[in-house]
């Protein structure tokens, strides 16, 4: 990617609030995202992480605040244009009818295709590379319904990648995945950020993964952002204790110096 594109402000949320029905679950959150950057959103269950992602994706209407995408208000984009810029993968995904893995990944090309267009060779190549990226080539012909939870998760990540968007919003991308695939996928996310200047927001429960792979972390609790910054700055014992309401140990991995976070509550 070109250097001037790296570091470009791609997404900005300012004092965003959102509710489900009458209950406000997000009370004024602000954030920024730059090209080539990976931001991890962490926090306990019900902190508003997924809600924030939905607001950023434009699928949940916010109560107040402002979201800017490439310097323009989110609402000024139509859905199709939005889909060319932002890809999203929800926490849970289901497919109503029987589609092959390849068909599902090719659906990611829809924002780039007209109503009567068939996928071109280039679309297939994009899908091929997305499948390869997530170790799915061998499963391309299989119906999604026959896959395991972890394999299915990777299919939806591959679909988002095939969308060739500038920003990816991923809700728990590594849930259901085994250790190897978690490591692989984060490594690949890093490559995408570095090589394509993609900007990535992922909600994570795994604090160690967030510390290891994310450029910046945002710590959320009860619908507000408690802390935001580098993993070292945010993952302090006092911050984590306050947010998770439990004792936490923060140390360093002796083999590589990486931050490690462990529960430190006493047994029994």
């Amino acid at each position: 990617m070109s250097d001037e594109r790296k570091g470009e402000l791609v997404l900005r949320a300012d004092d965003v609030a959102a509710s489900y029905g009458a209950i406000e679950v997000l009370h004024g959150v602000s954030m920024e995202l730059r090209a080539g950057e990976m931001l991890a959103i962490v926090g306990p269950n019900g902190a508003g992480k997924s809600t924030l992602l939905k607001v950023l994706a434009g699928t949940l209407t916010r109560q107040r605040g402002r979201v800017e995408l490439f310097g323009r208000e989110l609402e000024s984009y139509d859905r199709r244009r939005l889909a060319q810029l932002v890809a999203a993968v929800a926490q849970e995904n289901s497919v109503a009818f029987q589609f092959s893995v390849l068909e599902a990944v090719l659906m990611g090309r829809a924002p780039h295709l007209g109503a009567f267009h068939f996928e071109t060779r280039r679309d297939l190549e994009v899908a091929h590379s997305a499948l390869e990226y997530f170790d799915l080539l061998a499963l391309a012909r299989r119906p999604i319904q026959e896959l395991s939870g972890g394999e299915r998760k990777r299919v939806f990540l591959a679909r988002a990648l095939a969308q060739e968007a500038r920003i990816a919003l991923l809700d728990e991308p590594t849930a259901f995945l085994d250790l190897k695939h978690v490591a692989d996928i984060f490594a690949r996310f890093r490559t995408l950020c570095a090589e394509r200047g993609m900007a990535l927001v992922a909600t994570l429960h795994d604090l160690n993964a967030a510390a290891l792979y994310a450029d910046r972390v945002m710590l959320m609790k009860d619908g507000t952002a408690v802390a935001s910054g580098s993993p070292e700055a945010v993952f302090t014992e006092s911050n984590l204790r306050a947010v998770y309401d439990t004792e936490v140990y923060v140390g360093r991995n002796p083999s590589n110096g990486a931050l490690i976070i462990l529960p430190a509550a006493h047994r029994g």
């Binding site: 029905g21 497919v95 589609f99 068939f118 319904q145």
Partner: protein, 346 residues
């Protein structure tokens, strides 16, 4: 990614234009053959040579005046029921949806029956009944749709249940009308409830054909969006689909189509379920193929069912709706069990 990317492994795992064209050609040929066969068979023997050459013959009168419009109408109604079934299944993300089950056909039938009872003497009733049927199909659809919205969100399963309730409700309303009108109407109403293709006019064929074409054109334009909708509302929106707008469009288009079909044939059940299911298993779920395939397959299916209805106990006739339901029910269960697939794959 490089130019040497080997895409051969993808062969057959996704829809190409040539695969779509091949299948549509096969189905179109099958439909044409069905039309020819069905038009040449009937309770009264027809000399085809005479029908085409002698303009004053009885053969001509039977073939062109009675049999051909009926076969054409059967094809139209089958095409409408099957393709609207596919669209509604995509809409509610459930393979058990269909115009009848969602209460759309019942609403259309009630409207048409009311129109029939009050307008039967008017000369314009031929054209008015389909329009009123469409109007009441739309009202039924809107009622089902509005009542299924919970906190602004459409819950597909709620929609299905509300549809089933409305379907029973319309049926009861029709029975109520049936019990208060005189015998002449009562016989007609019975045929409406059973579904029949008896004696349509060319004018009716034209009206239903035009409305069906209009509705289908709208549906096919949104075929790719229907694929995306099977990933869920949110995922579809994130991939560029205006979901609420798509829902309204599908509802409106299917109401037009079903209203038109019901206005001439009454309630014919199962076609909108069986045909899409068979085709989904044979051709996959891509709506760009599934929609036109069900249009052709539904037409052929209905023409065959009506042929059976006409000749099975000739010269008497079985309502075609009874045929589709009698064959359809067991077949449907057999298919679901044989396939061993989860019918509700949410």
């Amino acid at each position: 990614m490089n130019a040497a990317t080997n895409l051969e492994a993808f062969e057959g795992a996704y829809l190409t234009r040539s695969r779509m064209m091949t299948w549509l050609l096969i189905l179109a040929t099958a439909l044409l053959a069905t039309l020819v066969v069905a038009a040449s068979i009937g309770s009264a023997p027809v000399n085809m040579m005479r029908a085409f050459t002698d303009t004053t013959s009885a053969d001509r009168a039977i073939f062109f005046g009675v049999r051909l419009p009926r076969v054409l109408m059967g094809a139209l109604v089958g095409a409408v029921l099957a393709s609207s079934g596919v669209a509604l299944q995509a809409l509610v993300r459930n393979p058990l949806a269909e115009g009848g089950i969602l209460g759309i056909s019942g609403g259309a039938a009630l409207g048409a029956i009311i129109a029939l009872v009050f307008l039967s003497t008017s000369a314009a009733s031929d054209a008015l009944v389909p329009i009123i049927a469409f109007g009441s199909a739309l009202i039924a659809t809107l009622a089902v749709y509005r009542l299924s919205l919970i906190a602004g969100r459409l819950e597909p399963f709620t929609l299905l249940l509300i549809g089933v309730i409305f379907n029973a409700f319309w049926g009861a309303a029709i029975m109520l009308i049936n019990s208060v009108v005189n015998f002449y109407y009562a016989h007609n109403i019975l045929f409406w409830l059973m579904g029949s293709l008896e004696a349509p006019s060319y004018r009716e064929v034209e009206i239903v054909g035009a409305l069906a074409a209009l509705g289908f054109a709208v549906l096919i334009f949104h075929a790719r969006d229907m694929n995306l909708l099977s990933l869920g509302d949110e995922a579809a929106a994130e991939m560029g689909v205006e979901v609420d707008r798509l829902r309204r469009v599908i509802f409106f288009a299917t109401s037009v189509m079903i209203g038109a079909a019901v206005s001439v044939s009454g309630i014919i059940s199962f076609v909108g379920l069986i045909v899409p299911h068979m085709l989904r298993i044979a051709l996959g779920s891509d709506h760009r193929l599934l929609l036109p395939a069900s249009l052709l397959g539904g037409a052929a299916f209905m023409v065959i069912a009506d042929l059976v209805a006409r000749v099975a106990i000739a010269p008497a006739e079985i309502p075609v709706g009874a045929i589709t339901a009698l064959c359809g029910g067991p077949f449907f269960i057999y298919m679901l069990r044989r396939e061993g697939r989860k019918p509700f794959s949410f």
